[in-house]
């Protein structure tokens, strides 16, 4: 079988899984649905591996294939095929996506067990994986947009999975609409590409682009900026990020899969995929890089003050994606992709841990209420520690190698790109602090009520779930995890999934140790070989120097966190008092929601209300009623003249004659 056939199979299994579970939702026993769902993704992963092997068996220069099934829309010169494109980059993404997905499916198999919407969940989840794979495998921009929108929809569906929660549906809507804005950016970019290059196909576009465009030309910059709109919306970069924290309304596995490991990194993938265009538009690339930098700092500061466990991790995700965006924008393609992979491991792990803890807390997510889980949930705690260390880039963990590789590249590129290195380190410090803020709030200390109960009885709390945002009692009919909760300690699928990810988070970085090995860099090389930046390689010494600095910063950060949250727990409150304006700014998430509300939502609603209440009535209806009124008024006059007086009829008759006679006389003289 050819590489593309394997790739088609990668697409097929999740789709089949989704359809089978979706159509058979009444017939299938719950567990079967879970098994089918997990197996489908597992098979996809297997096929992904087969694709990888197939690709590795080929000459590095020839490792790109396009294949199409049928003409999707081909008329008037627009030739859109249902086609895929297989090259190291897409296969890399396929492996990350299917691999992490398989584990998260496994986790969900246990975690969602008592949820009424179990089958629906797996159907959605499989559909999401299919969409994500479509996105990474798409062979042209139109199909990319299709995949792009599909993941957006899947994300929507899963965020508002518990659809009786007003907060969940609202968050879903927000995510969807912002993602549509991103889609529009992509669509416009596609139009512009087609207008200039006459094709939507990756191969044609990437071959022709360097011939047609000169560097930093108006058009190519516009194309790249439009692509960035799509990328930023999907990857939650400023200012299109506001949906991501809200998206935490969805079930925790969803947050792990979509809003940490896979979908949100699509923007990074897009920039890497279209690096040919970005290489031609360095200005646009720089804009992207600075946006990433801003995001990583802003999100880091917000994560410092978030008390909601999942939201804090979500802001951390934003921040980490900021690193990746910086990476792929400044030319550190393989480093960016590497960070994408390791981030998928440790961030998925962190969310799984969060899920386990939240389950133990009966769906409450406020870290202020949590403490002492170290003793209550040993496995979960260990995983939290591993994930935290990786995220904080503790030496030798996966995050340590990947994050610092990006920063080292920036330094090697020189010029003003050094800013990225230094501010990146600032971000790293923030990362270490906020990560271990979570760790130190949750693990040590006196066990809270729920943790104590777990220690005493081994039971997970059974409380009537209620929505922390609105205080209303949750509606468990449609599938909110009812009173029965599942934690990693008591559910082997969760344990396995977390264990594997924990292992990967710990050692995943070793594939790319400077001076030792360069697995990912080598593998992705054919994809990025044509980039003018591909020759920039930081020296091994410089890399280790960077790693050293990074390690120190990480340890310092953890130390600060220890000081603040364990050694002197009263300091945070004091700091808040002291730095009130900054705290308010961070706590209110830099007022982005309010800004968007003020700039976009309100004007449109205002216009809508004006149109509805005033314009429609006065102008549109007025046009009708005005005309009708005039006509009716004329009718009134006619009826008034029709007075019933026969003599007035005679008068009108004679007057009419007079008029007619006058006309004739004047006319002919």
């Amino acid at each position: 079988m050819s590489c593309t056939s394997w790739a088609w199979l990668v697409l097929l299994f999740p789709l089949l899984g989704s359809i089978v579970i979706g159509l058979g939702f009444r017939a299938l026993p719950a567990k079967t649905a879970g098994i089918i769902g997990t197996a489908a993704i597992g098979l996809a992963f297997a096929c992904g591996v087969a694709t990888l092997l197939c690709l590795l068996g080929e000459d590095p220069e020839a490792r790109h294939h396009a294949s199409s099934l049928w003409d999707y829309a081909n008329a008037a010169g627009l030739d859109i095929k249902l086609g895929i494109f297989v090259d190291p980059l897409s296969v890399f993404m396929v492996l990350v996506v299917t691999g992490v997905s398989t584990l998260i499916h496994l986790y969900s198999f246990g975690y969602m067990q008592s949820d009424e919407g179990y089958r629906r969940f797996f159907s959605y989840l499989n559909f999401f994986v299919f969409s994500m794979l479509l996105l990474v495998l798409a062979g042209n921009f139109v199909l990319l947009i299709v995949g792009w929108a599909f993941v957006g929809f899947a994300s929507y569906a899963l965020i508002s999975f518990w659809y009786r929660r007003g907060t969940a549906t609202g968050a879903g809507m927000k995510a969807f609409v912002i993602n549509v804005v991103g889609d529009i950016g992509l669509v416009l970019a596609a139009f512009l590409i087609f207008r200039e290059l006459g094709s939507f196909d990756y191969e044609t576009v990437f071959t022709k682009a360097p011939q047609v465009f000169s560097v930093n030309e108006w058009t190519i910059t516009a194309i790249c900026l439009l692509l960035l709109v799509g990328a930023f919306a999907k990857s939650a970069q400023l200012p299109l990020h506001t949906w991501l924290p809200d998206a935490m309304e969805g079930p925790t596995p969803v947050s792990a899969l979509i809003h940490a490991a896979t979908m949100v990194t699509a923007g990074v993938y897009l920039i890497a995929r279209t690096h040919v265009l970005f290489d031609l538009a360095p200005t646009a690339a720089d804009i992207a890089a600075f946006t990433g930098l801003a995001t990583l700092l802003v999100a880091g500061t917000i994560a410092l003050v978030m008390t909601d466990l999942k939201r804090a991790i979500a802001y951390s995700t934003m921040s980490q994606i900021g690193y990746m965006v910086v990476g792929v924008s400044i030319g550190a393609y393989s480093a960016g992709m590497f960070h994408l992979m390791t981030h998928a491991f440790f961030k998925a792990l962190l969310f799984m841990v969060a899920g386990s803890i939240i389950a133990a807390m009966a769906n409450r997510q406020n870290i202020d209420e949590m403490s002492g889980f170290g003793k209550a949930m040993r496995f979960t705690s260990a995983m939290l520690l591993i994930g935290g260390l990786a995220l904080a880039a503790f030496p030798l963990t996966s995050g340590f190698f990947s994050k610092d590789e990006i920063l080292a590249f920036a330094e090697a590129r020189g010029g003003f790109y050094v800013i990225f290195t230094w501010l990146g380190y600032v971000g790293a410090l923030l990362t270490a602090i906020y990560t271990f803020r979570l760790v130190f709030r949750i693990l040590p200390g006196k066990a809270c009520k729920e943790a104590q109960e777990l220690i005493d009885t081994g039971h997970v709390v059974h409380a009537e779930p209620e929505n922390p945002a609105t205080g209303e009692v949750e509606d468990t009919d449609v599938g909110f995890p009812g009173s029965e909760h599942h934690i990693a300690e008591q559910s082997w699928p969760m344990k396995v999934a977390m264990g594997v990810l924990g292992f990967l988070a710990l050692v995943g970085g070793l594939v790319q140790v400077p001076g030792v090995d360069d697995v990912i860099g080598k593998f992705l090389e054919p994809t990025f070989a044509d980039s003018p930046l591909s020759h920039i390689h930081p020296t091994v010494g410089a890399e280790w120097e960077g790693l050293g600095i990074g390690g120190v910063i990480s340890i310092v950060g953890i130390g600060i966190a220890y000081f603040l949250y364990v050694a002197r727990p009263e300091t945070p409150a004091m700091l808040i008092q002291r730095l009130r304006p900054a705290y308010t700014l961070f706590h209110n998430k830099w007022y982005f929601d309010e800004l968007i509300d003020f700039l976009i939502v309100r004007p449109i609603l205002g216009v809508g209300r004006f149109a509805n209440r005033t314009f429609e009535r006065l102008v549109v209806d007025g046009l009708v009623t005005g005309t009708a009124g005039t006509v009716r008024g004329a009718g009134g006059i006619v009826r008034l003249v029709q007075s019933g007086f026969v003599r007035s009829y005679a008068l009108l008759l004679i007057a009419g004659f007079a008029g007619l006679a006058l006309y004739f006389l004047i006319q002919s003289s």
Partner: protein, 99 residues
């Protein structure tokens, strides 16, 4: 005598008839005025007949007389019917139909 005077006279009679219709309220007087108008036409016809030198106008006038008589008869008949229904003999009071 020049033909114009006949025409002027006839149009004066026509105008008097028309004014009568416009100003009088008794149906009988109105019928009389209509008679005047028709006779104005007759006068004009005869005058013109004289002017153009053929008899067609005179024949026409004779016919008109017959017709005028018919009209008056019908008119009086209706007036009688109205009177028998004890309705006012005033055209301005006949305003049931309007609007």
């Amino acid at each position: 005598m020049a033909i114009e005077w006949y025409v002027v006279l006839s149009s004066l009679i026509f105008a008097v008839g028309a004014m009568g219709i416009l100003t009088r309220r008794s149906p009988i007087v109105i019928l009389l005025c209509l008679e005047l108008m028709l006779n104005a036409g007759n006068l004009a016809l005869i005058a013109f007949s004289r002017m153009v030198g053929n008899q067609e106008g005179q024949v026409f006038a004779l016919v008109v007389m017959v017709v005028a008589a018919c009209e008056v008869v019908i008119g009086l008949g209706i007036i009688v019917a109205i009177f028998r229904r004890k309705l006012p003999l005033d055209v301005d009071e006949l305003r049931e139909l309007q609007g």
